[in-house]
């Protein structure tokens, strides 16, 4: 497969997954607020912090009102990860691999992008925001569904899944991190009803509420974290995502998953093992926010190693082969 094509399939999947998760992050915040009596603007500030594009935000908006933050995350052209930008990037990548993916995948991305673009040109209607976020999630699911049910399990699919799983692992960690920035009101304490409600909202944003309650019955913060970070079966848990990503990365080079033949496989394998053999007590003790920070750093190194090995093949490297 052409390196350029592999790169496009990888990013196409990353951007679709990212769009879905931005919708989830807005959704978790909306849920927090429904249960809270804190001044409203404060509630939306954390999303601007975790966006990593705080400067852009304050160039355009003076206050972190609900409308401003949602508009920023959905449609702002200057925020690189706004849903509209993600879909535009996904579509740009899809255009360059239109002959590799099948026509239904392309049509779905194209329709999806045009739909969101159309909505972005209207005035934001905050009352229907839930439906719109739902629509975004469903459209991402349709894309995944078409890909899953029509693409041969060859290199194309593996590069796609690699991108999708790494992005999802990253985004699940960000959804968890939203909680860190939501300081509990002074009247409430850790373990209070309000605290529990927030954790449940996080679980719901990751579509994990039903799966979780089946396994653990009652809502406990530690268990929720264990479920979202370490669970072996839940498809949005970080551990699950890394495991599948690792499998695809090794399938590309036809290497057994318990060994490695390149830097990318080494760094992803190491990170995967680290999580697979960890327990939630240790993670919480060392600091959840610190754990997530560190995890995201390592994940971005994995991404770099993959790029270097498969996408940015320079001529020197080629002649060595």
């Amino acid at each position: 497969m052409l390196s350029r094509v592999a790169n496009s399939l990888y990013w196409l999947n990353r951007y679709i997954e990212r769009a879905e998760n931005i919708a989830r992050i807005i959704d978790v915040n909306l849920n927090f607020i429904l249960d809270s009596d804190i001044s409203k603007n404060e509630q939306w500030e954390p999303l601007v912090w975790i966006s990593g594009s705080k400067e852009y935000f304050f160039e355009t908006y003076s206050e972190t009102t609900k409308e401003n933050v949602i508009n920023f995350m959905l449609f702002d052209k200057r925020y690189p990860n706004s849903i509209l930008n993600c879909l535009s990037m996904a579509r740009d990548n899809a255009i360059t691999v239109r002959e590799i993916i099948n026509i239904e995948m392309w049509e779905q991305i194209n329709k999806f992008y045009m739909y969101v673009k159309k909505i972005s040109q209207r005035k934001l209607n905050i009352d229907t925001i839930h439906e719109f976020l739902e629509e975004i999630k469903i459209n991402c699911h349709i894309f995944s569904g078409i890909q899953e049910s029509t693409l041969s399990r060859g290199e194309s699919w593996h590069f796609g899944r690699l991108g999708k799983m790494l992005e999802r692992a990253d985004q699940t960690s960000r959804i968890i991190d939203v909680k860190y920035f939501h300081i509990l009101p002074s009247s409430m304490s850790v373990g209070s009803n309000y605290d529990i409600l927030q954790w449940a909202a996080i679980l719901k944003s990751a579509s994990g509420f039903e799966m979780y309650t089946k396994k653990y019955k009652s809502v406990k913060p530690d268990k929720i974290l264990e479920f979202l970070i370490l669970d072996k079966e839940f498809p949005r848990s970080i551990n699950f995502c890394l495991h599948r990503a690792n499998y695809s990365l090794h399938a590309i080079s036809s290497t057994a998953t318990d060994t490695y033949v390149n830097k990318a496989e080494q760094s992803l394998g190491a990170l995967n093992s680290e999580l697979a053999f960890s327990d939630i007590g240790t993670i919480v003790k060392s600091g959840l926010h610190e754990f997530i920070d560190f995890f995201q750093l390592k994940l971005s190194r994995v991404n770099q190693d993959i790029s270097y090995k498969y996408f940015d093949i320079n001529e020197y490297q080629l002649l060595q082969q």
Binding site: R4, T96, R98, E99, N110, E155, F159
Partner: protein, 486 residues
């Protein structure tokens, strides 16, 4: 929706002899459409437009303010050509392409046609499309112009003419194939009733030809389609054809030449490439030989080609045969190589490099269409009857400065075909671009791309200038035949 109020307005109309009498060939189609409710037909038109949009069948316009992609306008009323008309066109197109191929081979090798003074050597040497680098090159199997899209027009007396030969990288075939899919959905019963010649096997012919032109013995040469990239106006088509043939779509940056062999960069290292269907103009193909600033091409590609290690379709240098000054000599070229008269005539053309002709053109500019010899896409031309005195004056200046750059032709009243305009049928001017593949055999796809000037009274059909398309049906002369046979 009925044709009752349709007006031919004195033009040659391919559907109607006069306002109330339709031609025999289109009778079945007209009756079918007359029976359809207005809403039904408009719904099908709308569904077709939506299908084009969702499929992303778009083209890029370099100067458009609305972002880079535009939807190609499509009208569902088919353009119809009868079997006997088509047979003659097909013969004429094959004749023309055989002669042009011999001509190109001759120009770059023995130059007999120049020695015999059938064409002045000066015309060849002064052409922008002439490539001295191709001298003494014999491409695999002596085929130069593998893919051609010849533009035909029809005048007020229903005669077909060749307007232009496009032998470089003609585009538009993807619209033909997609239009057919959409037309089948719009008029399924007509496809059952009429014998409409299929076009869907184009990618198979193209693929077979690309396989055929690789000289070396190998069971399956690696074929790639070389595109300038997503910003090219025909990118959709490049991707479409690559997908249809199951070949890799590559950009210049995906390729590298080592020891005169071409390789593509893959996730498994370098892989050798044997045949390139290149959709990049000569100028940009190899920065080592042509334009030094080209980032689209592949350094070393021409040397690999000269060494016979990679086949290129079309061969570099074929552009010489679609220089519009050479066009005037095509009837002579056919006579010279084949000893035949052209089956499809040329539009009478004035070569401005001839001083007498130039004076004629300047004196009659208000009645002529003046074009640059190497232009395409309807850019840089003057349509005399539709231009202002000021524009004419400016053009005369240009003609005097560089007459070799221009030719002029009489304004031909192009034939018309009905389109749906809002809720009525109205006539619009059309042309026709059939596609010819030159491999082991010569194949002409029945029909081709019908381009429509959607603006009322406009004669410019180019997509970049407000043109759109229709599906083209080549049907049996007697459309009743199949109905009764069943």
């Amino acid at each position: 929706m009925k044709f009752n109020n349709y007006r031919t307005e004195g033009f040659y109309d391919e559907y109607f002899i006069d306002d109330s009498t339709c031609r025999d060939a289109v009778k079945v189609v007209v009756e079918k459409i007359n029976r359809m409710g207005k809403g039904e037909l408009l719904n099908r038109q709308k569904a077709a437009e939506k299908a084009f949009l969702n499929l992303g069948i778009t083209f890029n316009v370099y100067s458009s303010g609305e972002g880079r992609e535009k939807i190609f306008p499509f009208d569902i009323i088919p353009r119809i050509i009868t079997g006997s008309e088509w047979n003659n066109l097909e013969k004429g197109l094959k004749q023309r392409i055989v002669a042009l191929n011999l001509f190109i081979n001759d120009i770059y090798n023995k130059k007999n046609i120049l020695k015999d003074k059938v064409i002045p050597e000066e015309i060849i040497l002064s052409s922008n499309a002439y490539r001295p680098i191709c001298k003494e090159i014999r491409p695999p199997r002596d085929i130069w112009c593998h893919i051609t899209g010849t533009d035909l027009i029809r005048d007020e007396k229903s005669r077909f003419y060749v307007l232009e030969d496009n032998l470089r990288c003609p585009s538009g075939i993807s619209y033909v194939l997609e239009s057919r899919q959409i037309a089948k959905k719009a008029f399924p019963q007509l496809f059952e009733t009429l014998k409409i010649q299929p076009v869907e096997d184009y990618p198979v012919h193209l693929f077979n030809m690309l396989n055929y032109i690789f000289n070396r013995r190998t069971d399956s040469p690696t074929i790639c389609l070389l595109t300038p990239g997503v910003y090219n106006s025909a990118y959709f088509e490049h991707s479409f054809l690559a997908r249809q043939m199951g070949v890799e779509l590559v950009e210049g940056r995906d390729l590298i030449v080592e020891n005169n062999f071409v390789f593509m960069k893959t996730t498994k290292g370098l892989q050798k490439v044997d045949v390139l269907y290149r959709r990049i103009d000569d100028d940009f193909l190899d920065p080592g030989f042509f334009r030094k600033d080209s980032l689209l091409g592949v350094p070393g590609l021409i040397e690999a080609y000269n060494a016979g290690n990679v086949a290129l379709a079309n061969a570099p240098g074929t552009g010489i045969a679609d220089d519009k000054a050479i066009y005037c000599y095509v009837p002579a070229i056919i006579k010279y190589y084949l000893g035949e008269d052209p089956i499809i005539p040329n539009v009478p053309t004035h070569i401005c490099s001839d001083p007498k002709e130039l004076e004629y053109v300047i004196n009659n500019i208000e009645n002529l269409v003046v074009k640059t010899v190497d232009g395409a896409g309807g850019y840089g031309m003057l349509i005399g009857p539709k231009s202002t005195k000021k524009q004419q004056k400016e053009f005369i200046e240009k003609l005097r400065v560089n007459p070799r750059k221009y030719i002029a032709q009489p304004t031909i009243s192009l034939s018309r075909v009905p389109i749906i305009n809002k809720k009525n049928f109205e006539g619009r001017h059309v042309d026709l671009r059939p596609y010819i593949i030159y491999g082991e055999d010569i194949t002409v796809i029945p029909g081709g791309l019908t381009r429509v000037a959607f603006k009322k009274n406009s004669l410019v059909v180019n997509s970049s200038q407000g043109g759109g398309s229709k599906d083209t049906w080549v049907i049996s002369d007697n459309p009743e035949e199949k109905k009764y046979a069943e």
